[in-house]
Point group: C2
DNA sequence: CCTACCGATCGGTAGG
DNA sequence: CCTACCGATCGGTAGG
């Protein structure tokens, strides 16, 4: 009963609370993405859920805390993506390709969260900001390590691995700016094509 | 006397007005970058200049117009960069390399403007937004054309040139996020190293 | 978790 | 271009 990671182990009370939080986050993500954080009142978020503002304050301490939750979800989706691949026992160039795919997919599936984090950084409280930035640094570190490993084994040819990690991170993260669901390319197509570019960028021999 | 593009041809009156506008923009850029647009009052901008708010309203119609001016400068610096290179009569792979250098340099020299544009898009009025977005599309078009040309002449090997242009645009634009003046790398070093990565990404043969 | 409200903030302007 | 101000907005909460 201490296990809060497994939904089915939660009591009804906690499960209902979780559901309500999810609905609040969903509504806030849509509105913050569409109008911007400061241009969205909590009254508007409440209205979309057909409740009133104190409903939100029962689940989040303040507007910046709600924002921090959204931003954390955005960045942790990218971190989860790299973590899923990083320990796999496959050749380093295949690992980079997989990271590319998973990372792009995570960014595009969490497009709104990533956009909100990128735009609204200045509206986070210092502790929320620090927590989230730590994830960003962890991501860069893991990606740099892969590139380093590929360099050492002669599979990649990169002059500055840390810079290359930032370049790859930017190339992928920026896709939240231009990607349109229901546009020319599916998430899978973008993921696969950007991964090829990432391997080229790393000077991978095929 | 109709020529407003040449500073020395302006009357004193117009020149003073231009100077004042510049100082307002500079102060606003620093504060919007540091605190965010909505968290910066025009009183704070005025205070930094040791004037009062109506001084600003003598030069800009509204807060969103001031923002639009800043964003337009950011994006037009990138557009100028590509325009300086695009017509040069040099091999296509050299042209791409030069575009990389100039583009990175433009982004890092206008880091605050680019950051503000990326973050504060939702605070632009529709017409300001449209004007600025047109520049973004023009940039993408010109870059795509270069990649297309390189593909045709067998110098590049790109599956999807439009997507590659977006990838390169993202890789470079995102540098506003992580670049620190007085950090490990100078603007020139970043420009040169990212350009190499861009050529690799395009599958350029050397 | 709703009703009702407060208190502070701030873009914009009238008047000079 | 300053002084002085307005009018609207909105995050947050008291009371029930």
């Amino acid at each position: 009963m201490q296990d809060t990671s497994d939904q089915s182990a939660l009591g009804i009370r906690a499960e209902v609370a979780r559901l309500k939080r999810e609905r609040i986050v969903e509504a806030a993500v849509d509105l913050f993405y569409e109008r911007g954080y400061e241009n969205t009142t909590l009254d508007a978020v409440a209205e979309r859920l057909e409740v009133t503002k104190p409903f939100i304050y029962a689940h989040f301490g303040s507007k910046p805390e709600l924002l921090a939750e959204i931003c954390a979800r955005g960045i942790s989706s990218s971190l989860d993506a790299i973590n899923r691949v990083v320990t796999r026992d496959i050749p380093v160039e295949q690992r980079l390709k997989e990271i590319g795919c998973e990372f792009v997919t995570a960014v595009l599936r969490n497009q709104k969260h990533i956009a909100i984090f990128t735009r609204e950084e200045k509206n986070l409280l210092p502790d929320g900001f620090e927590r989230i930035n730590a994830m960003r640094r962890e991501f860069d570190k893991k990606l740099t390590d892969i590139l380093e490993e590929g360099n050492r084994s002669g599979k990649f040819d990169i002059e500055d691995t840390h810079l290359a990690a930032l370049a790859i991170g930017g190339l992928v993260s920026w896709s939240y700016v231009w990607y349109r669901p229901f546009g020319r390319l599916s998430v899978e197509q973008v993921a696969s094509r950007l991964s090829v570019m990432i391997l080229n960028l790393a000077g991978a021999k095929d």
